[in-house]
Symmetry: C2
Subunit: 173 residues, 2 copies
DNA sequence: TCCAAAGATGAGTCTCCACTCAGGTTGCGA
DNA sequence: TCGCAACCTGAGTGGAGACTCATCTTTGGA
């Protein structure tokens, strides 16, 4: 589909993605393009050759974050998965940014995450761990709220566990 | 304490505070100083004469927001108060900004809010509406999380009610 | 090996915004 | 009423950060 990239271009693109992933995870979306370029061992112009805008690069990273999460959902349970996502949000700022991102591509990935949540939710209901009246949007709302606040408020592991415990009790029958 | 302001200066200061309150409530902390100045019918220089930095002005507004909330706590119950705060957060962006603000002055006001929450929490425990094991920091964490997410996610009234209902159930005995 | 096209470079442009200050205006005490 | 200190004004300064592009370098097919 894409007209083959030259070898050096491929190398640089990979380096930029890796660097952006780390940089945005660490400093959030407000990290500069130059920070990414330096970390990738490349000039700013090169970053813009591969990604037309900083936003486009960010979106690529956020999608990657979400897809990594979605992949983990397969072999998990609702409560474990929610815990994992909140923990991941504290680790990498990109996750929370993705939850708030208005970009179309991200909306799609978020929809994918929602689908997985729906599946885990049904599973939890069948196991009698969650009230049958609970809806997915409520679970997603609670999840994004906890993830966002945990990250921005610098919640300790302990506080995260206790807060989630209250939420889980709220979901239980 | 302060050396009397001239009449016009007093008028302008009041206009600036009112304008800033509306502007920041509407557009959040990223609103520009010039937007505030225009709304106050004043030149930018005047804004900076009354408040040394934009941050200082923002802090003044955020403190005001918090104190207004604290005042309402007196004649409310825990669950009603939490609902009210989340609703207010959706209305005025300043509230959420205050929850995340690292400024010292705000930390003080937040402490005041925490004290009120502690009081309402004890009251709710006595009424048998909340488990005695629940701690204030957990309640504050859940509150800020819901407020922040509701505001940034544009939660509908309905979703806010349903989400809070789950949290309340999680707090109940 | 050679060279044209693809790619890389990084100083420079552009835009936005907080903040300043020289010069004009106004309130108010004497 | 006068005079001046307190105020106000808004064009200008400085810095940050996204993005560009003329110029140089590298790749890979002939």
């Amino acid at each position: 589909m894409s007209p083959e990239l030259r070898a050096d271009a491929q190398r640089n693109r990979a380096a930029i993605l890796a660097a952006a992933s780390e940089t945005f995870a660490e400093h959030g979306p407000k990290a500069t393009t130059e920070q990414v370029a330096i970390r990738a061992g490349v000039a700013v112009g090169t970053v813009f050759r591969h990604f037309p805008t900083k936003q486009a690069l960010l979106v690529a990273i956020m999608k990657e974050s979400l897809h990594r999460l979605i992949a983990k959902a397969a072999e998990s349970t609702l409560f474990d998965f929610m815990t994992e996502i909140v923990d991941e949000a504290v680790r990498t700022q990109t996750v929370v940014a993705a939850f708030t991102g208005p970009q179309l591509d991200i909306r799609d990935a978020l929809m994918g995450l929602t689908e997985e949540m729906r599946r885990l939710l049904e599973q939890a209901k069948d196991a009698g761990e969650v009230r049958s009246a609970v809806q997915v949007d409520e679970v997603m709302a609670l999840l994004t709220a906890a993830a966002q606040a945990a990250q921005q408020g610098g919640w300790s592991v302990d506080l995260r566990r206790r807060t989630l415990a209250i939420i889980f009790k709220g979901l239980a029958p």
